[in-house]
């Protein structure tokens, strides 16, 4: 969509002010606990100017940049999922006057959905949200809470000026440039002579907001600078994943001994699923009060790494860690395709970075079925 314009730092502040005036609760990157997390942002000074992240499998450190870039980091630990599908929320309550009574009243879960504006959404994250949309919204059993929060949300994408050490969106075709799903998209243009943004609208409401901001048309030099930045990012991915034939190879090698080797390292802690922007599993909890007069049903994030997750009729189907890791990886990279028509991984690299045991989905996916493949290759050559 939209044509490109130039937006100054003052223009970016004007954008925050305009969103605030329209009742949006703006969430964006902030430095906290030595990490980039998403929290309330109202002024440019809230943003992590001059900070970047160094990421490897199982490692994350903040470092100073040589410049004052506002979006000069790759990706923090939290996905936007935590706002669209909160880690825990109440679905409904039930109340009865007397614990002996059979009838009770159902009270709906409170509150209208908050009106969020997300600032600094990366291309991979937009893609992940579109995946969750398909599952949680565009589905015969739509999740009402997700759908309501999603409908209100305003997305300000930021194209990636650098790739992190664990990023592989280029392999997954999901980044580093935001293609769709945003209301406004920014590219940070920063050199010795200027600190500005290239901005384009991706929706009617984005265009309407852009129209009231101080902006000037972009020129060829601006566009060339943006293209160079994004090409450089695409070329410096920390990881790659060969997706050609991957689904078939994984599905054909469910008994590969490498799954057991992974299980010696995997902690079954569930961190990978908790940070993944496409993971959507939840469980329901019913609680009652001491008097037996109130009940509450809550929905909370669940993980396929727990034993409860596959507990059916007396036992857990995926009793060992190997079975659970295999379930997770084959779901993301193979079975998701059968289920939803695309892979469930956008190459954000969070599961690598935030795995305490430094287990790397790209390396493990490449290793599965390799022994068989090598043998077949040898047969082919003979």
């Amino acid at each position: 969509m939209g044509e490109e314009y130039r937006l100054t730092l003052a223009g970016l502040q004007a954008l925050l002010d305009a969103l605030g005036a329209r009742g949006y609760h703006i969430l964006g990157p902030r430095l906290r606990d030595e990490a980039i997390i998403y929290d309330e942002v109202t002024k440019l000074a809230d943003l992590p100017a001059g900070w970047t992240d160094r990421q490897e499998a199982g490692q994350y450190r903040m470092e100073r940049r040589a410049d004052n870039a506002l979006f000069g980091y790759a990706l923090g630990p939290q996905a936007w999922r935590r706002f669209l599908q909160p880690p825990r929320h109440t679905l409904w309550r039930a109340r009865r006057a007397d614990p002996a009574a059979d009838d009770f009243d159902i009270l709906p879960a409170d509150t209208a959905p908050p009106k969020f504006a997300f600032l600094g959404v990366r291309a991979c994250e937009l893609h992940a949200i579109s995946i969750q949309d398909r599952i949680l919204r565009d589905n015969a059993y739509a999740d009402a809470s997700y759908t309501a929060r999603r409908a209100e949300a305003f997305f300000i994408a930021v194209n990636c000026g650098m790739a992190g050490g664990t990023c592989f969106c280029a392999s997954m075709g999901t980044g580093p440039t935001a293609q769709t799903g945003y209301d406004l998209a920014l590219t940070e243009l920063l050199d010795a002579t200027r600190h500005e943004f290239l901005i384009r609208a991706g929706s009617a409401r984005g265009a309407a907001l852009l129209a009231i901001l101080p902006h000037t048309p972009a020129n060829e030099a601006d566009r060339a600078q943006e293209a160079a930045i994004l090409a450089d990012t695409a070329q410096h991915m920390g990881r790659t994943l060969e997706t050609n034939g991957l689904k078939e190879r994984l599905q054909a090698n469910l008994e590969d001994p490498h799954w057991d080797e992974i299980a010696t390292r995997c902690l079954s802690c569930g961190n990978c699923t908790m940070v993944c922007p496409t993971c959507f599993c939840t469980t329901l909890e019913d609680h009652t009060n001491l008097a037996g007069t109130e009940a509450v049903r809550e929905q909370r994030w669940d993980s396929c790494f727990t034993l409860d997750f596959s507990y059916i009729h007396g036992d857990s189907v995926r009793a060992g860690i190997a079975a659970r890791y295999r379930h997770w990886l084959t779901h993301k990279l193979a079975n998701w395709v059968d289920q939803f028509g695309e892979m469930g991984c956008v190459g954000c690299g969070r599961c690598l970075t935030w795995c305490p045991a430094a287990i790397d989905i790209t390396a493990e996916a490449a290793a599965i079925g390799r022994a068989t493949h090598d043998q077949e290759d040898q047969h082919g050559n003979a």
């Binding site: 906290r32 606990d33 030595e34 990490a35 997390i37 199982g58 490692q59 994350y60 450190r61 923090g76 630990p77 939290q78 935590r82 880690p87 825990r88 614990p99 002996a100 010696t264 390292r265 995997c266 902690l267 079954s268 802690c269 569930g270 961190n271 908790m274 940070v275 909890e285 019913d286 609680h287 009652t288 009060n289 001491l290 008097a291 037996g292 909370r300 994030w301 993980s303 790494f305 727990t306 034993l307 409860d308 860690i321 970075t353 935030w354 795995c355 305490p356 045991a357 430094a358």
Partner: protein, 257 residues
């Protein structure tokens, strides 16, 4: 509806009273509890100590004396349901550090007249002595979890207490992982329940709630070593409040000496 209120009893074995205090700490809810049950026996809170049988017994503390080993048998016989609360009752507690040493030698070094002290060589969890209906870990137990267990008992449902890692609660809370940022943390092998407090304050988990459902302690020890933790650090981490829980005891042993 039953004519009488369920009779609750709270018993103490070798422990610091902290878990019973979690119950007293329930304040507002404590009144609701007093309305829902007859508090028949709770010496920490009340001077009335009514005889059994009891509908529900909460047991704090570990078994460390021959006398206590007999006492728990009697309590079990008097209690329809028996729930153990806390690290001592579920894993032997900090006093189970004696299990890895010579208890007599320890006595001799602490007491002037060790022959007055009658104690067992090991501190053991209640479940090693009698069947237990539910074990709630923690040092101390989390009062919200304790209320959940009591509410579940009263209405006759299963308590909603997850046995997953502390990590899942850490992530739900939105805390960046301190282990990935370089601070050793026991969260990946530790039972959730505390609400992932320590990482929220930039400290590694100390393992107060004991082993999670399927702890891969050997892998975590390797991860710790990569952060620069020594063999002794790893040994001492697993020799904490739940040292005698089998998974932690084994990993502690593997890094001994």
């Amino acid at each position: 509806m039953a004519a009488h209120k369920p009779r609750l009893a709270v018993f103490k074995f070798a422990s610091c009273d902290g878990c019973q205090l979690s119950l007293l700490d329930c304040e507002d809810e404590f009144l609701a509890l007093a309305g829902a049950v007859e508090i028949a026996y709770f010496p920490e809170a009340s001077s009335t100590m009514a005889k059994g049988p009891y509908d529900l017994a909460l047991v704090e503390g570990s078994i460390t004396t021959a006398h206590d080993a007999q006492r728990i048998l009697k309590i079990r016989r008097q209690s329809k349901r028996l729930i153990t609360i806390g690290a001592c009752a579920t894993a032997g507690g900090i006093q189970a550090l004696r299990n890895f040493a010579d208890a007599q030698e320890m006595l001799a070094s602490v007491y002037a007249s060790p022959h007055y002290i009658s104690t067992l060589a090991k501190s053991t969890p209640i479940a090693l002595h009698v069947p237990v209906d539910f074990e709630l870990p923690g040092c101390p137990v989390n009062k919200a979890e304790l209320l959940e267990v009591l509410s579940a008992f009263l209405i006759g449902r299963k308590p909603v207490i997850g046995a997953h890692s502390v990590c899942m609660d850490c992530k739900a809370r939105g805390t960046p992982c301190v282990l990935v940022q370089g601070t050793p943390c026991l969260g990946p092998v530790t039972h959730a329940g505390c609400g992932a407090i320590c990482p929220a304050y930039r400290r590694g988990c100390y393992g107060c709630f004991g082993p999670m459902e399927q702890p891969n302690t050997a892998s975590l020890a390797t991860v710790w070593a990569k952060t620069g933790a020594t063999k002794r650090d790893i040994h001492r981490a697993f020799r904490g409040i739940t040292a005698a829980a089998p998974a932690f005891a084994k990993e502690g042993d593997a890094h001994d000496g």
